[in-house]
């Protein structure tokens, strides 16, 4: 087998291997379904509850995408503002770090008081939990423009807006995509927390109800559905990244 082919197969091999090990461990150690169900039992639950899983998964996907979308727009705009001015950077940095240090679970009750139970708390939780990395990375990309590049641009009479659009934004795209991959998984965490506490729908709500029924295989089935959704969105971000920031991956291209 060539090195290339084994590289391409590696993700599948490791994923399948993980589930096989899990199954073997459960059987050999005779772990009760109630503590850690084996993949076969989880699969059983997935088949049995496929309709509610599917329906709630779609809901969660929707909540997450909405929250994530908000945080991309807000994060990029705020990142551009923070990164373009040292005054704003100095002023806003402690506020942002402080805000990010608040556990977002603690924010959900406030959201419930403000908006009641429904779709808004999960979307907003997903949003508040996931915008920070985007702001920071966007601002870093802008703040680290090489001084020579700036001199070349300024000597030509470029305005701040010119420098931002021609240099700042393109060069922060690789930073942004790095942040998006972190953010999207955070957004899932946010929407599920929101659903667990303040929604009648979604995977988070399904997990709450399954745990009330002590239906452990269903909880695990829901967790695996979440993992699949997470991988799905990261893959989409990866694809967009590969198309727009090819230049940042020159080492791999020169090897190809």
């Amino acid at each position: 087998m060539t090195r290339n082919a084994s590289l391409r197969l590696a993700p599948y091999l490791f994923t399948v291997g993980f589930f096989i090990l899990w199954e073997i461990a459960c059987r050999v150690l005779k772990i009760s379904n109630f503590v850690l169900p084996p993949p076969s039992a989880v699969w059983g639950a997935m088949v049995q509850f496929h309709m509610p899983l599917l329906k709630n998964a779609m809901h969660t996907l929707w909540m997450t995408t909405a929250g994530f979308g908000l945080s991309v727009v807000f994060g990029v705009v705020l990142g551009l503002i923070v990164g373009s001015s040292r005054f704003l950077y100095a002023g806003l940095n402690p506020l942002l770090v402080g805000f990010n240090s608040i556990p977002k679970v603690a924010v959900v009750p406030i959201l419930v008081i403000w908006f009641g139970v429904g779709w808004l708390p999960p979307v907003l939780t997903a949003f508040v939990i996931s915008f920070f990395p985007i702001v920071v990375n966007m601002a870093t990309g802008l703040a680290t423009i090489e001084p020579e590049t700036e001199d070349v641009m300024k000597a030509l009479g470029a305005s701040r807006l010119d420098i931002m659009t021609k240099v700042g934004i393109p060069r922060s795209l690789p930073y942004l995509f790095g942040a998006l991959k972190v953010s999207i998984t955070l957004a899932y965490v946010g929407s599920v927390i929101g659903e667990q506490n303040a929604s009648n729908l979604g995977i988070g709500n399904l997990i709450t109800r399954a745990s009330a029924d002590f239906n452990v295989p269903l909880i695990f089935a829901a967790l695996i559905v979440l993992a699949i959704l997470g991988v799905f969105l990261v893959v989409i971000v990866d694809l967009i990244e590969a198309r727009t920031t090819k230049w940042a991956r020159r080492s791999q291209m020169s090897n190809a």
């Binding site: 090489e146 020579e148 001199d151 070349v152 000597a155 030509l156 009479g157 021609k166 393109p170 060069r171």
Partner: protein, 262 residues
């Protein structure tokens, strides 16, 4: 006699405070079409001089006049190239060259409609520095010397009257460096713009320049000025003649004497 670049008694302190000045009582005068070189030890304020002459910094004292007018804002009639080629990695070489045209008027407003004309101009320029057909490549696919050639092209694309070179060959091996000397020599002969070259290589200064200014270490000021009257066009062989060696040695002595005195 009026000068194209007339830096008179300039003192500059970064940050505008009362700290050590980067340059003090600096006077540099360059005629239209002249090739001037500024040599000196590192950290002597050579780059500060460049920033003052292009309007990126403004002096605390003294006056900076370029092309008959006091410098009050970044000058669009200048092109700049640095030791680091600072090409934008997400743009092809050709698009990097076109960047100044997307910013400087009057090209900026005509850019979309006349893109083909500008692309032809860029390709011409690439050909003249030996980079024909490289426009579609990305900068990081080129060698250091080729990137520096492309960077020269970018500094010339908007046909500046004044070319500022800040140690543009400092990071190159000696063969590539000498090749690029010839490229710059030919471009200057062909287009007749004024050049200010900042360098610490005395041979480079003597080979390329009509007039050489020696700067002292910080705070920088001019301690010697010397005209190089070797006939043009100069061939690289001239660098191995006695006359040339004498010029270089003389420059070296002057800089050394100034360092001892300081």
């Amino acid at each position: 006699m009026s000068y194209f670049v007339d830096v008179q008694g300039v003192t500059h302190v970064y940050g505008g405070g009362d700290g050590t000045p980067a340059v003090a009582d600096l006077t540099v005068r360059v005629k239209q079409g002249e090739f001037a070189a500024i040599v000196g030890p590192s950290g002597c304020g050579k780059s500060t001089m460049m920033k003052l002459a292009t309007g990126l910094q403004f002096p605390k004292d003294g006056s900076v006049i370029v092309d008959g007018a006091q410098v009050a804002a970044p000058l669009k009639i200048t092109g700049m190239a640095f030791q680091n080629p600072v090409m934008l990695p997400w743009r092809t070489v050709l698009d990097n060259l076109l960047l100044p045209l997307e910013i400087v008027e009057p090209h900026r407003s005509r850019f979309r409609r006349h893109k083909h004309e500008y692309m032809a101009r860029a390709e011409n320029l690439l050909r003249s520095v030996g980079l024909a057909g490289m426009g579609e490549k990305y900068p990081w696919q080129l060698s250091g010397g080729m990137q520096q050639r492309a960077s020269l092209c970018r500094s010339l694309i908007h046909e500046p009257k004044l070319l500022m070179l800040d140690e543009p060959f400092g990071a190159l091996d000696s063969f590539t460096r000498e090749e690029l000397w010839c490229v710059v020599r030919d471009l200057h002969a062909e287009r007749g713009f004024t050049v200010i070259l900042v360098t610490h290589d005395l041979r480079e200064a003597a080979f390329l320049a009509d007039r050489i200014f020696c700067m002292s270490s910080r705070p920088g000021r001019i301690i010697a000025e010397r005209v190089v009257d070797l006939p043009r066009p100069r061939d690289l062989d001239v660098t191995y003649t006695h006359v040339f060696a004498d010029i270089v040695q003389d420059l070296r002595h002057q800089i050394k004497a100034a360092r001892v005195a300081a």
